[in-house]
Every structure is written in structure tokens, then in C-alpha cells.
């Protein structure tokens, strides 16, 4: 049974046009980063280990404190500011980015092979049978199709750049090999996530990236805040994972399959628009909300900035957080059957986009601004996939990967410079607070230019990548708001059409705010007077080429990335350019689902489209203008001297007090109830105290009563005996009569 099913997979694979190309080495894509993880991990451990004595109990702890301190100071705390390069740093610098570059080369080779063939059937490479139980067959199988190919290219491409950047950024950290081990492991899981041919395998990657995110956020674990942030990220993600799991269970118990092909084959068992498929999709979306930081589970992402900045760029901007978008694109078939769930996705995405953008307006930590910006942009992507514009969502995912990675790496470059300056003068000021920056453009010119490119891209200024992707999403929303199945669906009593117009408005508002807060960030960081301090100013300088090099590449991508998927109105303007490349590329995967949700024609009339584009450009420009005219970088004071803000500003600065509310409403009650009611009350009190020890006490009390009868007075015994005998005899006599 099992054998035969494996054979059928094997034959399907051998028959595939990709079978004899580089695609047969698809397993190497994740395997290479895994190898990097193993090598770096072992290097990390062998260097750090401090093998204990044979009998640990015999050695008094702490009596050799001094020798300990001295030996371990060599690769000890990052916070003692002893910059001692790790002894395996050179090897690690080679292996860490090396495996990823190799992976990228392989991915590119597979991509080349893929371009030449028709990809209507995905190429599936089955490695081994993972969980064969009864009628459940889960294989460790990798699936190559246009969608996963795009993701693989983004992950390995952007990943390689960020790895190279990390070499410069992290190599003086005592935990350098550990850092690359985690980073390699992350890429391994991320590739597994996008390549997995079934939901459980995807879930392996899904949880695995969460695990690496946990480890990397808490990379500098000696700060409690960092460790807390990592833990928070993992636990909040787990809430989403719960949704993912339940969705899988529902799929399996109703369709009997968990692999993408199997589900595609049996999806007609589900009633389109029915409650079952809606439930499945909503549970999937719960998973997406966790991983991609959407309301109400977005709270972990801003805290995740506690990790090293390249990590924020790779995991918390470019790749992992977009996994939710990928999941919906991957499940487009199911989502297109559930308009209500799709509307939910779009609505949550739109609300998140605006909500996060408002918080982004008042953040002072440069990375926090970018974090909320990420949450907001992810909201955009969900709007895209929510309205069935899957290609648009993936497109924005890609451009966002470019410009947001650039923004994070650029901010990393800024922080690097700031940190080096503060380090040189032994200052303990906050190296990430924008109030301590200002006027950095003269010290970091390359970073300044590149970050402006990214800012224009994210703000949606034409020709930069973000403009195309964002515009495509917004126009899709507008297009679907009339005459599509989504518009006809009813969401909690609200007509889908009205809802979509509302989402469109949310998107526009968020776009305005995006332009404002990004310009604000640029102004406060690079323009105006310098607030770093007299002494520190002299130490500010541009980062080495290992860091600026990747920035330049990303800058180019951010600028021209939009040309990968030019909309129709643009190609009519310049007919030489290829139009909708990405959409056509993704067509085999999401085409039918897109068509189903788009309804009739799908495209807007040219005039309407041009109007929408005009509105979008106006809003983006307006945002920048408002920011430039209204904000006064010159008026800022250092963080330590800033007054406390009040009113709405204070509320925004405190992120609407959502964290505090969750803490009060969920975390504290859970702990208090667990401790006071469940543990002390039920466990120690009722079960142990009353039932278990209670029964023991009862037995003991009974015994005590008995023992009191044993007075030792023979006379008493005689009395008791006689009374008993008389009573017994009396009873006997009575019975006889």
C-alpha cells in the first residue's frame, strides 16, 4: 500500500519536465543552510564549552570564582565591552554566508530551468515517508512551483545579502558562531516552509522559523528584556500555530489529505462558501495573524526588535513574517471558496495597516518605527491576498522584502555607527533613539541615500518598487468592490461591497500615514542638527564594505523591483516593458483562485484606474510634504531631556496600551488563577489536602479514638467487656422471644 503510493509519486516526478534538471537537487536548497547550522553550532559549542569535572558534586561551586571569571571573560559577556573576536570568526564568516550563497546559486539554476518549461503541475521531490499511519500519509516531500520558486529566490537572495551584512555587523560579538548557526537554521526552516509539499511539512518550517526567531530575538539573552521578547514572540506565535493545527485537523478529517496536491484534488468535497471551508480558512488566518503580526496578535513584532538588527531585517521584515501571506497564497484555492473568510483577511489587514501606521507616527526608537511599519505593510499584503489579488500580495511581499530589508539594514548601519561612537566615548546613551541622532547624512552619506530610496519606495512614489505593488493592491480592492463574489458576500450582516470600500479607505489612510512617519524618521535621523554629542560626533563613520555592499544591492532592487510586475496602465505608457511578469509567472498556482474571486472581467476601466493611480500618488506626495513642512528636526532635544508627551501623543507613544491591556486581561489572570485556584486551591487544597491527606487524617483520627480506649486500666476493660456481654446477651434473649 505504502510502497505503491510511493511509486506513484516517483513516477509522477520522473515524468515531470523538471525531472532531469537542477531541480532534482532541490533537497540541497534547505540542506546547505542546515549544514551551515551544524558547522557553526559545533564551532560555537566547542569554543564556549567549559567541560566540568568528573564528579560535579565533589567540587564546591564558587570556590574558584576568580579563575572562572578570568577564563570566561575571554569570550564572556557582550556587555563588558571587551571586543574580542571569536577565535573561529574567520571560518564562520566563510561558512555562514557561503552556504546561503550556494543555496542561492542553486535556486537561480532551478529558476532558469523552470523558466523553460510549463509549470502547471508542480515538481514534487519525495525524500522519505515521514508519518505513515493508517490512511494518513505525510511525506517529507519538497514542492517546486512558481510560488515557492519566488519565495526561495527572495529568501536565499535577500538572505545572502543580509548574511553578508551580518559578517560586518556581528563579527566582534562573542556569540558570533552561535549567531550564524541560528541564522543558517532559520534559513533552513524558512526554505522548508516554502518548499514543503504538504501542510504538516510547512508547519515544520512554520514552527522552526518561530523557534529561530525566538533564539535570535533572545540572542543577547543576558538582558531580561531580550529574553522576554523572544519568549513573547514564541508564545504569541503559538496562538497562531494553534489555528494552523486546527485548520490542518479539519482538512484531514474532512478531505483525508494534507498535501497540497491531494487537497487540490479533493477540494470539490467542500461546499464553496459553506461554513466548513470558512472555518478552515479562518483558522488558517489565525495562524497567519500570529506569524505575520496582524491584529490582535501583532504585539510580539515590535518587541522582536530586541534581536540584532540584521535579524530584524531578515526574519522580522523580509521573510518569516511574510509566511502568513505565503500561506494564504498557497491555500488560495480554499480561500477563494470562502469569500467571508477572505473578507475577514482583507478587513483585518486593512485595520492593521492603519492601526500600526498610527503607532509608527510617534515612535522614537528607529527600529520600532520600522517594526510598526512592517506590521502596517503586512496588513497591506493581507488586504491583497484577502481580496483575491494573490499575485499582488506576493508582489508586495517581494518589494517589501527589498525595501524593508534595506531600511532595517540601513538602520543597522546607523545603529552600528552610533554604537561605535558611544562605545568609543563610553557613553551609555541609547544608540537607537532618533532623538539622539539627527544630521547623520554627512557622516553616513551612502546609508542616507539608500534609505531615502527605500523610503520613497515604501511611501509609494512612482517608479520605485513600492508604488507598483501598493497601487496594485489598492486598485484590486477597488475593482473587487463591485460585481465580484466578494462584493456579493455578506460579512456579519455588512455587504461585502461596502466593506471593501471601507478597506480601500483604510488603505489610503495608511498610505498617507506611511509617507508621513517614514519621512519623519528620515528627517529626524539624517537631517537637522546633530544631537549625538560633541565627543561622539568625531567617531561617527560609515560602515565597512561588507555592510554597505548589500545595502547598495538592495537599494537597486528597491528602486527597480517594481518592474517585475508592471501594471497595464504603465505598459500602455511605455509599451517596450513587459507587463505583469510576476502575475503571469504565478498564474499556474493562484490563477484559478484569483479568477474565482475577481468575478467577471477583473480589471477596471482604464479611466478609473488612472484616477486611482492619481489619488495614490497625490496621497504619497502629500504625506511627504506634510511631514517635511510640519516637522521641525531642529526643535528636537536629546532623549534624556525630552519632556513627557501628553494626550493622544502619549497614547500613541505607548502603543494604545495594548501590551498593558493584554498583560492585565490575560497574562496576570492566567497566572493568578493558576496559582491561587488551580494549584493552591484545587491541587494542594481539595485533591491533596481534602481527599488524599484528608483520608489519611481520617484514618489517623479513627485510630486515635481507638487508642484512647486502651487506657491500660484492666478495670475499665472489664467494665467494657461486661457491658458488651450484657448487651449482647440481652440482644440474644430478645431475639429468642
Amino acid at each position: 500500500m505504502l510502497l505503491s503510493s510511493m511509486q506513484t509519486i516517483a513516477t509522477a516526478t520522473t515524468g515531470h519536465p523538471l525531472a532531469d534538471t537542477a531541480a532534482k537537487f532541490v533537497w540541497l536548497l534547505p540542506a546547505l543552510p542546515l549544514l551551515g547550522f551544524v558547522v557553526n553550532g559545533l564551532l560555537s559549542l566547542t569554543a564556549a564549552a567549559n567541560i566540568g569535572p568528573a564528579d560535579p558534586s565533589a567540587v564546591g561551586h564558587g570556590h574558584d570564582d576568580h579563575s572562572q571569571e578570568s577564563t570566561h571573560g575571554a569570550h564572556g559577556a557582550h556587555d563588558d565591552h571587551h571586543v574580542v573576536r571569536h577565535r573561529h570568526a574567520a571560518l564562520v564568516s566563510l561558512v555562514g554566508p557561503g552556504v546561503l550563497a550556494a543555496s542561492f546559486v542553486l535556486a537561480a539554476a532551478i529558476f532558469m530551468a523552470m523558466r523553460g518549461v510549463e509549470m502547471h503541475v508542480p515538481f514534487i521531490s519525495t525524500l522519505f515517508s515521514w508519518m505513515p499511519v493508517g490512511d494518513l500519509h505525510i511525506d517529507a516531500a519538497l514542492q517546486l512551483d512558481p510560488l515557492s520558486m519566488v519565495m526561495v529566490l527572495i529568501i536565499t537572495g535577500v538572505g545572502t545579502l543580509i548574511h553578508i551584512f551580518s559578517v560586518g555587523y556581528m563579527q566582534d560579538d562573542p556569540g558570533y558562531p552561535r549567531y550564524f548557526a541560528y541564522l543558517n537554521l532559520f534559513v533552513f526552516f524558512m526554505l522548508l516552509l516554502v518548499l514543503g509539499a504538504n501542510y504538516p511539512l510547512m508547519f515544520v518550517g512554520w514552527e522552526g522559523v518561530g523557534l529561530c526567531s525566538y533564539l535570535l530575538i533572545g540572542f543577547w539573552f543576558s538582558e531580561q528584556a531580550n529574553a522576554d521578547a523572544g519568549k513573547k514572540a514564541f508564545i504569541v506565535n503559538r496562538i497562531g500555530d494553534f489555528g494552523f493545527l486546527v485548520a490542518m485537523f479539519l482538512l484531514f478529517s474532512n478531505l483525508g489529505a494534507l498535501d497540497f496536491m491531494g487537497i487540490a484534488g479533493s477540494a470539490d468535497k467542500l461546499q464553496p462558501g459553506g461554513p466548513l471551508v470558512t472555518t478552515i480558512c479562518l483558522f488558517f488566518f489565525l495562524g497567519c495573524a500570529g506569524k505575520s503580526a496582524q491584529l490582535p496578535l501583532y504585539i510580539w513584532l515590535p518587541d522582536a526588535m530586541a534581536g540584532p538588527t540584521p535579524v530584524s531585517a531578515l526574519i522580522h521584515a523580509a521573510t518569516m513574517v511574510t509566511a502568513g501571506v505565503y500561506l494564504i497564497a498557497r491555500s488560495s484555492l480554499l480561500f477563494s471558496m470562502a469569500p467571508v473568510a477572505s473578507l475577514t483577511v482583507a478587513l483585518v489587514g486593512g485595520v492593521t495597516a492603519l492601526f500600526a501606521a498610527t503607532i509608527g507616527l510617534k515612535q522614537w526608537d528607529i527600529k520600532k518605527v520600522l517594526a510598526y511599519s512592517t506590521v502596517s505593510q503586512l496588513g497591506y499584503m493581507f488586504v491583497g491576498v484577502g481580496v483575491g489579488a494573490y499575485a499582488a500580495g506576493v508582489f508586495h511581499l517581494m518589494t517589501h522584502a527589498f525595501f524593508k530589508a534595506l531600511l532595517f539594514l540601513g538602520s543597522g548601519s546607523v545603529i552600528y555607527a552610533m554604537h561605535a561612537a558611544y562605545h568609543a566615548t563610553h557613553s551609555h546613551d541609547d544608540a537607537q533613539d532618533m532623538r539622539n541622532m539627527g544630521g547623520l547624512k554627512q557622516y553616513l552619506p551612502i546609508t542616507w541615500v539608500l534609505m531615502w530610496i527605500a523610503t520613497l519606495a515604501i511611501a509609494g512614489i512612482p517608479v520605485f518598487s513600492g508604488f507598483f505593488s501598493k497601487d496594485e493592491i489598492l486598485s484590486s480592492v477597488f475593482a473587487r468592490a463591485h460585481g465580484s463574489p466578494l462584493a456579493d458576500a455578506v460579512w456579519l450582516g455588512i455587504p461585502g461591497s461596502a466593506l471593501l470600500y471601507f478597506v480601500y479607505a483604510l488603505g489610503l489612510a495608511a498610505a498617507l500615514l506611511t509617507a508621513i512617519y517614514m519621512t519623519r524618521m528620515m528627517l529626524y535621523t539624517f537631517h537637522g542638527p546633530n544631537r549625538t554629542g560633541e565627543m561622539e560626533r568625531n567617531h561617527l563613520k560609515e560602515a565597512p564594505w561588507t555592510m554597505t555592499g548589500p545595502l547598495v544591492v538592495l537599494g537597486v532592487l528597491s528602486a527597480i523591483g517594481g518592474f517585475l510586475n508592471l501594471p497595464e496602465f504603465f505598459t500602455t505608457l511605455i509599451p517596450a516593458l513587459p507587463g505583469e511578469t510576476l502575475a503571469k509567472w504565478l498564474e499556474p498556482v493562484v490563477g484559478s483562485a484569483t479568477a474565482r474571486l475577481a468575478g467577471g472581467e477583473g480589471h477596471l476601466p482604464a479611466s478609473t484606474e488612472q484616477l486611482l493611480v492619481g489619488v495614490a500618488i497625490t496621497i504619497a506626495v502629500a504625506g511627504i510634504v506634510i511631514a517635511v513642512t510640519r516637522l521641525k528636526p531642529a526643535a528636537l532635544v536629546k532623549k534624556s531631556e525630552s519632556p513627557e508627551s501628553v494626550g493622544l501623543e502619549k497614547m500613541l507613544e505607548h502603543k494604545y496600551y495594548v501590551d498593558e491591556a493584554y498583560e492585565k486581561a490575560i497574562v496576570t489572570p492566567t497566572i493568578v488563577v493558576s496559582r491561587a485556584v488551580l494549584w493552591k486551591g484545587i491541587d494542594s487544597g481539595i485533591i491533596d489536602g481534602l481527599m488524599v491527606n484528608g483520608s489519611a487524617m481520617f484514618a489517623r483520627a479513627f485510630g486515635w479514638v481507638g487508642s484512647q480506649l486502651q487506657s491500660g486500666q484492666v478495670g475499665t476493660y472489664a467494665w467494657v467487656l461486661v457491658i458488651g456481654a450484657v448487651a449482647l446477651l440481652g440482644a440474644f434473649v430478645r431475639a429468642m422471644q
Binding site: 461486661v722 457491658i723 456481654a725 450484657v726 446477651l729 440481652g730 440474644f732 434473649v733 429468642m736
Partner: protein, 182 residues
């Protein structure tokens, strides 16, 4: 056998005399303060009972009563009383106070009543032996010991042997207990 016409009356009269003697002696026995006099009244009770045994056709038991009880056991009691020098009415109040005494009396009366109810209840006819009293029937063959000795050495042989072991144990036990620890 005596077949005098007055014999039943004489027999009854004697029975009552010795029964009364036993009753009175036992009452004196429980009320004496001095252990020695109490012991002597108990001996008197036992003699009276021995007579009753004989009158109830248990001549052998009557003899044993005098030999073993009155002769041996009571002597041991007296011997111990003498040994411990407890002959005089003791320095402590030997008899309990009125309250317990009253309750004890009540219990005694209740017990007597119960026992009498049982004693006067009809006999179990299934167990009755239809033959004449054993001592009368076998007076010629096995003498008066025969009827008792027969079952003792046949039916109750095991119990008899165990009793001998019990006596041995009692002897050893008494020696060990009464021996002065050095």
C-alpha cells in the same frame, strides 16, 4: 439405689441447703475486705458446689472440685496473698465507690435476669439423651470415672493433649514471670 419414699424430699432439702450455702458464701466472698477471708469464703463456696456436683450425679467432678479447686488453686491464691503480705484489709480502698457499685449491681441484676430467662427457656429436645443418667447406667462397668474418661480420651483426645501442653506452658510462664530479675 436408695428407694426411700422420703428420698426426693430429703434430696431436695439438701440441695437447697447447699445451694443456699454456696450463695451465702459467695456473697460473703465478694464483700470481705481482707483477701484472706475472701479466699476462705470462696473455698466454702467451692465445697458447697462440690456437694451439689455429687448430688447432680457428677461424683468425679465433685471430687476434682475439692482436690483441684479448693485444694490446689485456692491454696495457691492464699499462698500468694501471704507471700505478698496482703493478708490485712488493704491500705487502699479495695471496693469502688457507691456509684460504680450501684451500676455494677444493676448490671449484675440485669445479667442474672438474662441468664435466668435463658435458663428457664424450653430445652432443645433434639439434644436430649434418652438414656438414664450416665453415672447410674455405667456404675457397674467403668465406675464413676468411666463416662467422663471415655469421651476425654477418644473424642476430645486432641483437646486433652493440648491442655497438657497449655499446662506446661503455664508452668514455664509462671516460673519465668515470677523469677526475680537479676
Amino acid at each position: 439405689m436408695i428407694t426411700n419414699e422420703f428420698y426426693p424430699l430429703f434430696y431436695t432439702f439438701n440441695f437447697y441447703v447447699f445451694a443456699l450455702l454456696a450463695l451465702m458464701s459467695s456473697l460473703f466472698f465478694v464483700t470481705r475486705k481482707s483477701p484472706v477471708s475472701a479466699a476462705l469464703w470462696l473455698v466454702s463456696t467451692m465445697f458447697a458446689l462440690a456437694v451439689l456436683y455429687v448430688m447432680l450425679d457428677a461424683e468425679f467432678i465433685g471430687i476434682m472440685q475439692i482436690l483441684v479447686y479448693a485444694g490446689a488453686i485456692m491454696v495457691v491464691f492464699l499462698f500468694v496473698v501471704m507471700l505478698l503480705n496482703l493478708g490485712q484489709p488493704s491500705e487502699f480502698s479495695d471496693i469502688r465507690k457507691n456509684g460504680p457499685r450501684l451500676v455494677a449491681g444493676f448490671l449484675g441484676i440485669l445479667l442474672t435476669a438474662e441468664l435466668l430467662t435463658l435458663a428457664w427457656s424450653p430445652l432443645d429436645a433434639r439434644l436430649l439423651v434418652t438414656t438414664v443418667p450416665p453415672s447410674v447406667a455405667t456404675a457397674g462397668a467403668g465406675g464413676i470415672i468411666g463416662p467422663v474418661a471415655g469421651p476425654l480420651f477418644t473424642e476430645y483426645l486432641l483437646a486433652f493433649e493440648l491442655t497438657s501442653v497449655l499446662l506446661l506452658v503455664a508452668i514455664i510462664g509462671a516460673v519465668v514471670l515470677a523469677k526475680k530479675r537479676s
